[in-house]
Amino acid sequence: MNNSSAVLILDKVSKSYGNGLAVNEVSLSIRENEFFALLGPSGCGKTTLLRMLAGFETPSGGCIYLDGNDISPLPANKRPLNLMFQSYALFPNMTVRKNIAYGLEMERLPESEIRRRVDEVLNTAQLGELAERKPDQLSGGQRQRVALARALVKRPRVLLLDEPLGALDKKLREKMQLELKRLQHESGITFIIVTHDQEEALVMSDRMAVLDGGKVCQCGSPTELYENPNSRFVANFIGVSNLLEGVRSGPHSVRVNGHELSVETDAPSVSGQSVAVVVRPERLQVLTEQGGDCANQVSGKIVEIAYHGLDTNLHVQTPLSDKPLIVRVPSSQFEFAHFAIDTTIRLGWQARHARVLTR
């Protein structure tokens, strides 16, 4: 990893509560001007990690470096990092303008500069008309924008966002995902976002880390994590996966329920090792006639058809696993007459689209 452009380095950061470890020796390097996502199920330690960065929790072990300096001893109000709270945490006794100006007043900036910077942020966040309102007179989306503006106006080195879109409805969330990305790009501030929503992380982040049980499972770009998950957990957590449990039978083959599947993998071949083969639903093809260029083929019966608008998911019961395989077919290519429940179809996929997971 290129450390020269790293803004924030976490070196074996741990946090223990009683006997349990909420965060277990997490090491990450976050780059300048990056949109970084911490993704994981609830209880994976992602929020604790974020709160340690903000200064609200003290690490039990490890160091946190900002621009090369250890910030662990600094209290929260002395760190050039700002946190946008999940509940937004707007001050109910202050107007939108006062809320945003608060952080600048704490820096004891001259009044004219505070005014100028607040106006500027009110404009960027399209909050101009709401400046004199109190938080309880705002909608959820507006409150979210105020919270963001209040943190951004401080021009922090790193902005930490704790589930920033969690309280919004789906439509607004999708709009705000792009909005956040735009703001991050324009402000040039490094964003670290905590989310449990894998789709959100995929859409917004430049890089992401998947956490489970306080440990980093995998860290990389969304494409890397989606296409090359390193474990069953990551494969399952990000996107939809077909996981086939089997045994390694050769350098390019895995035996699954008596069927030999060909795979391409760099993983060292250990004969007899239990492995899982993962194939993404969009990599599975419905074969209309025998053959095709698919190295792996299997027949199965459709047990369920789930229409999603843009595409349709077929759940196909095959001899490879107890769970039906999920096949994603673009709805435009989907002939409803050909596919009905209980129809037997043939599926195929190429060896290079199957990943072998040992963990």
Partner: protein
Amino acid sequence: MSQSRSVSATVLGSHLGLVYAFLYIPILVLILLSFNKSGLPTAWGGVSLKWYTALAHNTAILSAALNTLIVALSATLIACVLGTFLALGIELRRKGNDKGQVVDTLLMAPMIIPDIVLAIALLSFFNLLKVGLGLHSIIISHAVFNIAFVCAVVRTRLKHFDYSILEASIDLGASWFTTLRRVLLPVIFPGVLAGGLLSFTLSVDEFIIAFFNSGSGQASTTLPMQIYAMIRFGVTPEINALATLVMLVSITALLASQRLNKAPRTHE
């Protein structure tokens, strides 16, 4: 069906009416008699404000009223400061989880213990410490139970409190003191005020504790004690007028307190 319903509604309605009559007719009679020109509870001699005028010229009553005001205001002020910080200390530590029932019960105790017990306990306490009795001992005694009330009201307010705004303030660069001054206290202030009004009301008409801990002499006689002293020679229309005024003050403070103490509007 609809008939039996209307019958039960009538029965319930008249029951409610009777209960209210039982509660409020004596008070109404008292208010009416305070305006009775004749001064006799048995004969109505027309409306007059003469008993109120008489009050204004009774120096004993005026000095007692002043004492009550001093006691109520001082005890309320002490209770507001101590009770608020007590509530903050408990709730900030606990942040919503409901552990520590013992602490809760101990805090409620001064509200629940019979006044007579508290009165005797305080008297013994002052004797033990060799603190002379007077207005100051009444103030301290009233503060004891008022702290419990202010603390309870402020804690109710804090149940709806979003603690993350305190962290947000710190995160934006504020010190703890600034956070207290600019965020925490303004947000809970209606609760403090409500608790203060409640404790003022309680203090104004408190008799037993004040009576036990006042010492002797007109200098430390409060209004309820003065009324008690006067009533030993029979209920005069003057007392009715005085009681009406005390009630007016109490009800106003109580209504204001309830209004302030409504749960703050929560965001959905």
